[in-house]
Each structure stands twice: as C-alpha cells, then as structure tokens.
Amino acid sequence: MRRSPGPRRLCALFLLLSAVLTGCSPGDEASETVTVFAAASLTETFTRLGGEFEDGNPGVEVRFNFGSSATLAQQLVQGAPADVFASASQATMRTATDASLAAGKPAVFARNRLEIAVPANGSSKVSGLADLADPDVKVALCAEQVPCGAAAAEALAAAGLDVTPVTLEQDVKATLTKLTLGEVDAALVYRTDIRAAGGRVRGIAFPEAGQAVNDYPIVALEKAPSPGAASEFVAFVLSQRARDVFTEAGFEAP
C-alpha cells in the first residue's frame, strides 16, 4: 500500500531535475550579455536583429525582455538591471530619462502607425474607422497608459469618433490576441503587428493614423552592466541593415 512516492524517490527526482536544469543552460559560452528591454511591438524585428547581432559579435549574447513600454520603464525606474531600453513612445522613454537612467540622448530608430485589424476571413463588417463607433461592433483597444492606447485615443479624437471598446488591454500584443482568438470584431493596433500576425488578420489603413504616429526611441542605459556591447547594439539598431528589417516589417524610417 504505497500511495505516494517516498521521500527518497522525491529527493532523487529533485536532484535529477536540478541537474537537468543547471546542466544545459546554453549561455555558459557567452562572455558578455546585453539585456535589452524592448516594446512588445518590437518582438519580431528585435528577435531577428538580436540573432544577427550575435552572429556578428561572437561571445555576445542578447537577451530580450519584451513588454508594454510603460511597464518596462517602471521596471527600469525600480532598478531592473538592463543595458538598453527601446520604447514605443517618447512619453515612456521620458519616464526613463527623467529618472536619469539614460547614458546619452535617445535616438529615434523607427516610426509606427496604427491600422484597424480585422479577421482575414472577411467576416467583419468593419471597413473603416467610423464603423468602430457602431455599438454592435466589439472593439479591443490598448489602455491609454500604454503607447498604442495613447495613439488610438489621439487618432479617434482626430476623427471625432466616440468609440466604446469592450476591453482596454495592457499591451498591443494582448489587444491583437483578443482579435485572433475571435473575441472581438476589430482592434486598433500597429501596422507592424498586423504584418507579424501573418495571414490571420487584415489591416485597414485610415488617414487619422497619420496624426498619431509613434516614434520609437532607443538608448543605452547609464548603469548598463555591459556598456560596450550596449552601445554597439544601439548602433546596430540605428544602422542601415536594421532599417531594412524595420521597413520590411512595416515600420517607417524616422
């Protein structure tokens, strides 16, 4: 009658697990690590650029923390260890620069504009910005605290529209997820996120987006544990090669 594994077996399991977990961490080889805090909308492009940067700089490993720019800025203010901060708006970058965290002046490396995301299968009755004000249309927006939400509020105000969304999400990826899961009929997200989602969503451009274009600034941080690699990574993000990657993803050149 043994109902649960004995303590000895549990111990063995624990030891095995810890051996597995500690034994094969791939980062052992790298002599230097650049930790980059980047806006959620940069997930695809930065992951790609990070790989290229690692290829070009043997011994350097790039680690990303993607999230809403506002959250990342707060984490940095609270002392999170990072080398580079790339945000989706000047306002969130200001949180970092006001706290004297930046080593130098932030440089804008890309710009992004909003589009209306609708399901690619054509089931949506949304064909323009005005349709979002229809009470039968379920709309997901970003919360106004995060850059994509601030841009959405500006664009809707410019269009003179009063849209009541069903949800205000904490970052742009979460907003798009509500659409890809089929829970909303439309979402206001960045053009780049629609492209990154592949064939599942379709983007509808609208003129008012031009009044709410987001600048993406990047800066190396004052207390960077790897200052050399940090400024090299920043330079790489500002390079022509990186600009091509951004343009391909749907960003605009600054």
Partner: protein, 260 residues
C-alpha cells in the same frame, strides 16, 4: 501551559523566517505608501468602482463555489466510483495552471468561438468574455479547487460513525448530509470559503485574459493595480493597500467570529 509555551528553536527559527518572508513585502508596501495624498486618491471614483466590482464578483464567485464545491467534495470523499482518483487529481488542475493559461482555456470553451460558447451565442445570444459574468466565471475557475480541497480534507478527517448512527436511526442520506455531515465539517467549509474568496479577490491572469479590462465592468482591483503601475506607481500602491485592508478586515472579522 509551560510545556506549550516553550517552542523548540528548531521550529521557532524557520517559523520566524517564514513569517518574516510573508510580512516584509507588506511592510515595504506600507513604507512606500504616499500617506499625504491617500484620502484624495481614495475618493477617486475609479478606485471605488473597481473595489465594488471586486467585492461583488468575489462574493458571488464564492457563493457559486459553495453550491458546486461542497457537493463535489462530498462525492470525492464519500462516494466510490471508477475514476475517483483521476477526478481528485483533475480538480487541482486550476491550481497548477498559470492563470493566464486558465483564461485562454476558458476562452476556448466559453468564448464567442469556443466549443460551448459558440452555441450559447447562436442559440441564446449569450457571450461571457468582456462581461462581469466573465469575471465571476474566471474567479470560480481558479478559486473552486481551494474550497473543494479544504472541504474534502474536513470530510475525510470527520468521524463517519456519527453519520452511520444517524443512518441506523432511520435518517435518509440527504438528511444525514444536511443535519450531521454539514455541521461536522462546518469549520472546514468556512475555511475553504475564506480561501476561495481571497483567491477570487486577488485573481488577475484568468480575468484579464478571459474577461478583458474595462472600468466598471471587468476592471477589478488587481487589474486596476496592474494598469496603474504602468504610469502611476503611487496610485498602484494605494489601490493595493485598499485591497489589502479590505480583505484583511473581512478575514480577521470572520476568523474571530466563526473560526476557533
């Protein structure tokens, strides 16, 4: 008494460390709270709105958990049926699952395109995501196991001879459950309900995934705290403090009155 009051250091030391680990973050919260602007921030309508929503949904979720969870615990503890061990393992799934994954799972079942949600929408026009009902559903999902596990534990620890005696005296099984079993395990049920309520009150991941975030409808206190943290950490501290104060008050009052 003198024997009881002497705590062996082998127990006292880890106990003190454990307590400190739990209490220190709370102290951190209190130290950083902007006390001077506290009253003004508390009076903000969105704070009250989120608090009202949190208390209402958590209480409703606890009521539903009691209605479903006590019978479930009884079946798991008392009835013999094939697959009982599997069922007991399955009720712990929401405990192991990251709440965000729980929220996605709920969407896949009860969402507008979900397995069941699709039909509910087509036949009755019922949709749960982005509604207050959705918030309650998310809370039930994550909180129910806490209730079931406490009640089941209480049932297993209770002496079945009282129930047998009642049955030999002619009481039906339902009467035995109502008049003997339930009073016997009442402290377990209450402890479970308290755990369940606290868990529902603090629920974040499943809620934001399944019910979204909209002030007054689905933005509960934990969601408000999270979003406040994005731009205004002081507001987030105040919100956390309010949530903490309210839940502690309720729990301490309950404990003094109902629990030994």
């Amino acid at each position: 008494m003198s024997v009881r009051s002497r705590v062996p250091w082998m127990l006292a030391l880890p106990a003190a460390a454990g307590l400190a680990f739990l209490v220190l973050p709370l102290a951190g919260l209190l130290v950083r709270t902007p006390w001077s602007t506290l009253p003004a921030r508390l009076a903000e309508p969105r704070v009250l709105e989120a608090l009202r929503l949190s208390l209402g949904t958590a209480t409703l979720a606890t009521a539903v958990c009691l209605l479903l969870g006590v019978p479930l615990a009884w079946v798991l503890a008392r009835a013999e049926f094939p697959g009982r061990r599997l069922a007991r393992a399955l009720i712990t799934v929401p405990l192991v699952l990251p709440p965000v994954v729980g929220g996605v799972a709920l969407l896949l079942v009860l969402g507008r395109n979900g397995l069941i949600g699709r039909h509910l929408d087509a036949w009755f026009g019922l949709t749960f995501p982005f509604t207050t009902t959705g918030v309650v559903l998310a809370q039930i999902f994550v909180a129910l196991p806490f209730l079931v596990i406490s009640v089941e534990g209480a049932l297993r620890a209770s002496d079945p001879r009282y129930e047998e005696a009642a049955a030999t005296l002619g009481a039906s099984r339902w009467t035995v459950f109502r008049r003997v079993t339930l009073p016997l395990v009442a402290p377990g049920v209450l402890a479970g309900a308290v755990l369940c309520w606290s868990r529902a009150l603090g629920e974040f991941g499943a809620t934001i995934t399944f019910a979204g975030n909209f002030p007054g409808r689905t933005q509960t206190m934990p969601l408000a705290v999270y979003l406040a943290l994005e731009t205004d950490p002081e507001a987030a501290l105040v919100l956390s403090l309010v949530l903490l104060a309210v839940s502690l008050t309720v729990l301490v009052t309950l404990r003094d009155r109902w629990l030994p």
